[in-house]
Symmetry: C2
Subunit: 274 residues, 2 copies
Amino acid sequence: MTFIDMLRAAEARNRSMLCVGLDPEPSRFPGALQGDPCKIYDFCAAIVDATADLAIAFKPQIAYFAAHRAEDQLEKLMAHMRANAPQVPVILDAKRGDIGATAEQYAREAFERYDADAVTLSPFMGWDSVQPYLKYEGKGAFLLCRTSNPGGDDLQNQRLVDLPGQPRLYEHVAALAQGPWNLNGQLGLVVGATYPEEIARVRQLAPSLPLLIPGVGAQGGDAVATVKAGRTKDGLIAVNSSRAILYASSSADYAQAARREAMKTRDLLQAARG
Amino acid sequence: MTFIDMLRAAEARNRSMLCVGLDPEPSRFPGALQGDPCKIYDFCAAIVDATADLAIAFKPQIAYFAAHRAEDQLEKLMAHMRANAPQVPVILDAKRGDIGATAEQYAREAFERYDADAVTLSPFMGWDSVQPYLKYEGKGAFLLCRTSNPGGDDLQNQRLVDLPGQPRLYEHVAALAQGPWNLNGQLGLVVGATYPEEIARVRQLAPSLPLLIPGVGAQGGDAVATVKAGRTKDGLIAVNSSRAILYASSSADYAQAARREAMKTRDLLQAARG
């Protein structure tokens, strides 16, 4: 089953476009777990168990594990998700970007060591920084396209003079990902939720690619406008929420609170499909 | 002592512009180490000891450790370099690129967990993906600017219509890094060695930034042209060679062979200063 098939099946089964982001910060852990980096696995596994029937995907962010020397806990979490939520694909958010032999090592890290279903990548180094990941049949790769942080404009929003129509850099990335780079249907795009008109523009340029859309929830993007701009008959979206779900409660009921918050966001997104 | 001070001191002390890249591939290890990922530390430490008086910097590439679950060996190697080659700064080649809270986690990984002196970063997400690293006083950050892989042209070489002079994307990155982004003199740039005229152009736009220049050695860049284009009175360069040094011999004499190869490249670079 390819990554895209998994996404499609999880969307149908869980009636969800919600991606649950796993950005564990021990300082924000509830109750007895508070401040303890050895509890990263426990915390995340409880969130996974509480939301496995509500998510189109899970998205662990590797930096939160690496900063705490917790690669072993990430391995354990990946195995837990595989065993307990096999129907929900896992996107390893790593935003790697390197070429040739080095990219092969990163691909090995993501797809062999952690057995992720997809990974996030930076396109800055071009095609040969993407291609090594596509050798893993059925695995997915989401390219950074348009991010909604203030600095997202610095490069991504620049217009390119030598290409037809003078597209912005992010539009160029979207067109490459839909077209010449997408050899086997493994690519997707990361597009921030802050500006729905940009999601609509990316969707126009990349009608069949899945979009990973961070920025709903704690980051304030508009869930309804996001769905209307991004979800089409052929185009899947996975709308990420991390902190609003993970830290919905700072007490022992955090997993139940996460479930309630996830359900609320999931239902809001579904309702927007109309 | 800041990262830049360390670079300057190492250049003077070792009369070297050579950066020794540590990209350990167990399948290429010599003799008894061959194929054994548990020997990554041993292999790299021997290379460090053999070249510590010949290098302006060491550059471990984190993917080669992560692919083999060898973060513990990277920690040990970082401590080894700190203890046995304290005069040589260490650039952790990680090419991270993320924003806000996530970038803070990556910065913590690089500067606290591994105690690197500098890190490589992707500028694709803009200023707020760089800024969190600069909170670590005296530490350095090299931004990807112009890479010499075939796909380097896909984005970096595009001309930007709305900026004065219609610079190419990599020229824009160089100007940002020399100017508004360089609050405390902590930034440098990564520029491939394949096209010396592009190194010269980056040097023109960023006269005082240190340049990390991969692509000499196994990748075929011209060492002499690289030095002439990049090293100026105010502008340091660290010219990286990895595989040509690491795998100079496939026998038990690999460390001595690495030393000979490093000395040859170091001397070639020095001679080009004229």
